[in-house]
Amino acid sequence: METYYHPHDLTRFADMGKGNPELWGKFIQYYSAVFADGALTEREKALIALGVAHAVQCPYCIDAYSQACLEKGSNAEEMTEAVHVACAIRGGAALVHGVQMRNVVEKLSM
């Protein structure tokens, strides 16, 4: 069945360099630097990436960073907590906008 997303397209990510190799090269250099050990470990950064991947709901990123987290030594419990962090922030972001709703309701109501 035709779909917009194909798992094998993940391996073709580098094809994006064909349109503009210079920008692609800069992006990859930056990307590699971001995920290298620094003040945070590679493992911690992969867990953050997994949470963000769920927040932005990118299936490619979820696929890649689920495997990356395992390969950095994380376990399913830790990865699940990272997804809950994304869930809490997304849910909280929706809920905090309820204050705007309340502002409107209070302004319009007697």
Binding site: T41, E42, R43, Q67, L70, E71, K72, G73, N75
Partner: protein, 345 residues
């Protein structure tokens, strides 16, 4: 406890069937081709510093990833006659280290004799231990025996938590492993200043590569000390090889092609240059010689015109021998590399 491939009459119990699967994979070019591209084909040995003796397939566990297809019902065991041939070869060489593996090598009737003989020759002895064997009634004095002979213990513990360890090695194995490590610690193993070396082996609980060795070692050290008061010397990361029971897991779980692609895409020329077969000679339970324990399980003997049995051991012929490779070798060359001594780079 799981079952061996042999007892399940699984076609992958045959080394020929495993080799057929490995040769058919579309996920990676032939290993020899990849090695040629980086100037490493044909691969040759650089000497022999480790004689790895696999004393048989008998084991008290049936781990899901076992490349030996070892288990309690396996009966292939090295005899005293073959063990004597191994020690004769050792005596006629300057190989400094023997590495005894299995199965659970300690269950072989000639295990302690081998250790005593090798130590009498002044050689260093390493034992690849599944830990739970230390708790068997028949092995109540095993830890003391290790101490008496200064055996370096290399103990399998895939993860520092029960769920992952038991998923790979069987229900309750983590708890037994903890008790065995605490026992070894009480004898001084892994304790700073004792000189008794206790190393752990981590291998992934699934179809993915191991983490950076130093990073996961730090997590093991912290978790085992905090939760169980356990100390150890080093942790080795080892990549799961796509053979035997792990190959069966890969195929039945639909991960085979993806895993082979992962290994091949992570091919590391620096790791390939340092693979352990270049400095190891492997002996099977029946005395047959191999380049490594993995080739042994695939029944890929040494190359043509080389001695095929330990009785014909000749270090001059073997030191720079051409090494036999196939697609399973991607397991040792991926990422940071993998060997019985952990990461290669």
């Amino acid at each position: 406890m799981g079952l061996t491939l042999v007892s399940r009459n699984n076609p992958l119990a045959s080394s020929q069937e495993q080799l057929r699967c490995l040769a058919m994979t579309a996920a990676c070019p032939p290993f020899e081709t990849t090695m040629a591209q980086v100037g490493l084909a044909p691969l040759h040995a650089t000497g022999i510093t480790v004689l790895q003796i696999n004393v048989g397939k008998l084991c008290n566990q049936t781990c899901r990833h076992c490349h030996v297809d070892a288990g309690p019902e396996r009966r292939e065991q090295m005899t005293r006659e073959t063990a004597e041939l191994c020690m004769r070869a050792l005596a006629h060489s300057d190989i400094p280290t023997i590495d005894i593996t299995g199965g659970a090598p300690e269950l072989n009737a000639n295990f302690r004799w081998l250790v005593e003989q090798a130590r009498a020759l002044g050689r260093h002895v390493m034992d690849r231990c599944n830990l739970s064997v230390l708790l068997l009634p028949s092995q109540a004095d095993l830890a003391e025996f290790f101490v008496q002979h200064s055996v370096e213990v290399i103990a399998s513990l895939p993860y520092f938590r029960p769920a992952q360890t038991d998923a790979q090695r069987g229900d309750g194995v983590f708890a037994k492993s903890v008790r065995a490590l605490q026992l070894l610690n009480r004898w001084g193993y892994g304790v700073e200043g004792s000189g008794l070396m206790l190393h752990l082996v981590h291998n992934p609980v699934g179809a993915f590569l191991p983490p950076k060795q130093e990073a996961i070692e730090a997590r093991f050290r912290q978790a085992l000390a905090r939760e169980y008061g356990i100390t150890f010397n080093r942790l080795y990361t080892i990549t799961n090889m796509p053979i035997s029971r792990f190959l069966d897991f890969l195929i039945t779980s639909g991960n085979y092609e993806g895993y082979m692609a992962r290994l091949a895409n992570a091919f590391n020329p620096a790791a390939a240059a340092g693979v352990m077969c270049r400095y190891t000679l492997s002996v099977g339970w029946d005395g047959t010689l191999y380049d490594c324990d993995f080739n042994q399980m695939l029944e890929l003997p040494l190359g043509e015109a080389l001695p095929r049995h330990i009785r014909d051991f000749n270090p001059v012929q073997l030191h720079t021998r051409r090494i036999v490779t196939a697609n399973h070798c991607y397991g040792c060359t991926a990422g940071a590399g993998s060997s019985c001594g952990g990461a290669l780079t």
